[in-house]
Structure formats: structure tokens, C-alpha cells
């Protein structure tokens, strides 16, 4: 595993030198969605809660950066702490009210919160620019240079993965899994689920905010789409494609989704149709995600190698 990880890290580190401009843009987009998908899966995988409102955290961070840069002339990098705090605050409010519910009720409540935030952003022309968004945000230095932004995004993805790895092995991570596996048993050993669920939601939302910050740096603008339900759907699709059960599944799913979209759109305008077909095939034949394809192949090759 460590060898594979080292090889993947080296490959990702040298990738920009093998990509032309458009390829590099696609790679950055894949990394940003990877950050978002890994963060989303921290909640989904560990608690079993399917949030349809993570776009609110993603967008809140993105808009915080955009507003501070455009209105107060802050430097891009300086906005990061406040962007993350905004994402955390939004996650705290949504999480506090939503984690009391489960299943479809939880999902619908998170969606409702995110759509409310989207509606405010969409209509508040005087502050957010409404549907005209906030444009002309040109980050200086590393963030303004595609290769620099690629490496910043790569480091962000590595940091998010490291945090998730730590959480997964920690007592709090096991506690979340205990609540997911058997809530009644968890309570009987002295665990009050509510606080842990809110904490997981806030951590997941804050890390999603890192994705929102990078998204604004990449597209040099912020539009209400950042908070729209389609953004939440996109991250769920990435997780389904990659496989939520595997640690790196969401990041791989994000890369597959972004690259597939770029390839399909270069040939046809029917990207949503192609996406629908791919999703159907994945859910019906490979519910474990793209990563399960490789594992299945490895399992088939192992006996042959042994023979």
C-alpha cells in the first residue's frame, strides 16, 4: 500500500510537466473536487448520513473569499482562515438541526438549508451580486499560476486525506462508526451520539470549505451555483463513482468524473446523458465504485500469479 501511495504521489507531482494548459485546468478541477469529495465522505462513510447540503459549506467558503477580496481588497491567501470559519459556521448551524434526523429526513433538511442559502445569494444583488456573481478575482502568486494552483490543490488534498486518516483511527472516529453501526449499543456504552455527529458534520463542512476556496481561486469568480443543489449532487456522484467504502475512492471518483466530462464534452453536447449511463452502469454492476474494478482484477490475477 505504501509503495502504491508513494508511486501515486510521484506521478501526481510530475504530472503538470506532461500536461498542456487545458489538461492542467482539468487536473486542477479534479483535485478541487477531490478535496470536496473526500471531505463529504468523512461524514457519509463514518456516520452513514447522506448530506445533500454540503454545497452550502463549499459555497460559503467560496463566497467569503470572493467578498473579502472584491469588497475589502484582502489578499486571496489571507481570506482562507475566514473562509474556513464561514464553512464551519454554516456546517454547525445545518448540522445542529439536521443530525437529530436520519435517512431521507436528514438528507432533505440539509438540502433545504443549502437551498435557502443559495436563494439568499442568488437574490441579494447589493451584497453578493445575485446571479451576476462576483467576477474578476485574480489571485496573485502561486494561486494565480495554473501550475502553482495545481500544487496548492494537491497539498490541500494531501492535508485533507491526512486529517481524515487521523480521525478514522481515533477514538472519536471509532465512536462515529459505533453510532453508525448500532446506535442503541453506542448509547448503552455511554456515548451521546448528538455531539459526535455535529462535530463530524462541522469537520466535514470545514474541509469542504477548503474545496470552495480553491474553486474560487481556480475560476476567478463566485456564482450562486457554488451553493446550488447540483454542486451537492456532483460530489455525491463523485463518491458513488469512486466508491465510498475505500479511503481514496472519493478522490478517484472525482478525477474520473472530471476527466470523463472533459472527454465527453469535447465530442458531444450530451454530457448529462453519458453521465446517466455511466452512473446506471456503476450502480447496477459495480456498486463498490471504480476502485472495486481494480480490486476485482487484482483478486483474479492473484491466484494466477500464485499458480
Amino acid at each position: 500500500m505504501r509503495t502504491k501511495l508513494a508511486l501515486a504521489a510521484v506521478a501526481l507531482a510530475v504530472l503538470p510537466w506532461f500536461l498542456h494548459d487545458y489538461g492542467l485546468q482539468v487536473a486542477i478541477q479534479a483535485l478541487v473536487l477531490g478535496v470536496f469529495a473526500m471531505s463529504f465522505n468523512l461524514l457519509f462513510r463514518n456516520t452513514g448520513l447522506l448530506s445533500f447540503g454540503h454545497a452550502a459549506c463549499f459555497g460559503a467558503a467560496g463566497y467569503t473569499t470572493a467578498l473579502l477580496v472584491s469588497k475589502l481588497k484582502w489578499s486571496f491567501a489571507a481570506t482562507l482562515p475566514l473562509a474556513l470559519m464561514a464553512a464551519a459556521l454554516v456546517a454547525l448551524v445545518i448540522g445542529f438541526f439536521s443530525v437529530r434526523l436520519t435517512k431521507i429526513y436528514f438528507t432533505m433538511l440539509t438540502l433545504a438549508f443549502a437551498q435557502m442559502l443559495w436563494a439568499v445569494t442568488h437574490k441579494w444583488y447589493g451584497f453578493t451580486g445575485g446571479d451576476n456573481g462576483i467576477t474578476g478575482l485574480l489571485p496573485p502568486g502561486l494561486l494565480g499560476n495554473p501550475r502553482g494552483l495545481y500544487f496548492v490543490s494537491l497539498v490541500a488534498l494531501a492535508v485533507v486525506c491526512a486529517i481524515i486518516h487521523l480521525v478514522r483511527r481515533s477514538p472519536a472516529g471509532y465512536t462515529l462508526r459505533a453510532v453508525r453501526d448500532n446506535p442503541a449499543r453506542a448509547e448503552a456504552i455511554g456515548i451521546s451520539a448528538f455531539g459526535y455527529m455535529v462535530a463530524a458534520f462541522v469537520l466535514s463542512g470545514t474541509l469542504s470549505g477548503l474545496g470552495g476556496f480553491l474553486q474560487v481561486a481556480w475560476q476567478h469568480s463566485a456564482f450562486p451555483d457554488l451553493l446550488y443543489w447540483t454542486t451537492s449532487a456532483e460530489v455525491i456522484i463523485a463518491v458513488i463513482l469512486g466508491g465510498s467504502a475505500e479511503f481514496f475512492g472519493p478522490a478517484i471518483g472525482a478525477a474520473v468524473l472530471v476527466v470523463l466530462e472533459a472527454v465527453v464534452r469535447s465530442h458531444t453536447q450530451y454530457w448529462p446523458l453519458a453521465l446517466g449511463i455511466v452512473l446506471l452502469a456503476m450502480v447496477l454492476f459495480f456498486p463498490g465504485g471504480v476502485i472495486s474494478l481494480f480490486q476485482r482484477r487484482q483478486r483474479q490475477e492473484a491466484p494466477r500469479a500464485a499458480a
Binding site: L166, R169, P171, A172, A184, R185, A188, I191
Partner: protein, 249 residues
Amino acid sequence: MPLLEVRRVSKSFEGFRALSGVSLAVEEGSLHALMGPNGAGKTTLFNVITGRYTLDTGRVVFAGQDISRTPTHRIIHYGIGVSFQRAIPFPSMTVLENVTLAVLALDRKTRDFVRPLLSYADAAKRAEEIISWVGLHDLERQVTAALPQGDLKRVDIAVALASKPRLLLLDEPLAGLSRAERAQMVSFIRELLRSLGTTLLFTEHDTEAALQLAERIMVLHRGSVLAEGTPDEIRNHPQVQEAFLGREA
């Protein structure tokens, strides 16, 4: 003074009276059974004691403290451990992780988001001791989802023992076990009482098993107490004979 006292507890669900003025006293160091057919109110009474259900009227007193309406996650800190009827503790974790988590939960150390679970050496050591005591040492690295029902019950009891309970509640400990597993579980429960001195209160719908195992028995029928006494008294109780033992009074 009894360790656990249930005083005139009633509980209804949408008009259906599941418990009606039930009183129970469990002495420290005893092996006490709640007996009765399905629907008699045994599990409801368990859930009232453990705070999963809020009682309508009455009181639950443990070691002199009123624990009525105490939430389930706080009950454990009073010294009450629970093992469930459908014993599937945390299936995605190994046996050792299950028990270590329970040890840390008792010590309120589960809020740590950074240090690995098994790096808490004292907790892991105590978990290993409990796992060895319940006879699952060879399986401590096994994921619990893959274990047979008999071993799962032991894991669940090990998880409950991690809280160092003065009173251990076992909900249908013999349910779903094969004949051989039942015999093992009966000796295991007796050993629990003998070696650890833990007071035990268990539910059982199998009349013969309850009569063999318990020192005192309370028989519930349709949410009310039908009889209470030693196994011999219960065996000879006319209404119990008529209702459960298939004999004419």
C-alpha cells in the same frame, strides 16, 4: 437496601399498556430473572430501567439514587451494563476495538480526534483482559461481523463488562443459540456471578432455562407481575403453572 428498585412503573404506547404498576427489587450479588412469554413486558421493563423508554409513572432507584428519566448514555456511569438480545455490538470493528472503545467511553476519552484508538495502552490492556476472561482471546483481531451468534453474545457481554458494572442486564442471553451454545452460556453466566460478583438481571422466555439459572424470578404477564419468588416457589405457583407450565392448578 436492594441494589435496584423498580417502584410501581407503568408504560403505555399509544393506548397499549405495556407495563402496569410493576415493582421489582434486585439484591446485590443475586441472579434475578424476568420471565414471561413474548409481549409480557420484559424488554419494555429493561428499556425503562436503561432509560431508552421514558416511564409514564413510578420510579427506578439504583444504589439509592433515582435514575428515572436518566438518558441511556448516562446510565452506564451509575454502574449499569447492558447486553442486548440481538447481540451485534459494532460489526465493522474487531473484537479488541469493540471492547477498547467501550473502556474509553466509560473513561470519557472518546472525544480525541487525533490519537489512534489502540494507542491508549491501558484501555487496550484492560480490553484484552476482558476478552481473555470471556474466552475470546484467539478472536480478538477478528471483525465481529464474521463471528457466530454464540461468540457475538460473548463480545456483547465483554463490551458491557468494560463499563465495570455493578448490575449487568442481559436481554434474552440464550436466544438464538444452539443447544451446545446454550449450555456454555448458562455456565458462563454462573461464572460471571461467581468470579466477578456482578449482580445479574436477565430476561428469558424459556421457562425451564430461567428456572434452572436464576436465584429469584419475577414472572410478567401482559405487563403486570403474575408471581415473584424462588424457582421452587415459581414452579409451584398455581397461576404460573396454569399459564406457562402447561399444568392445571
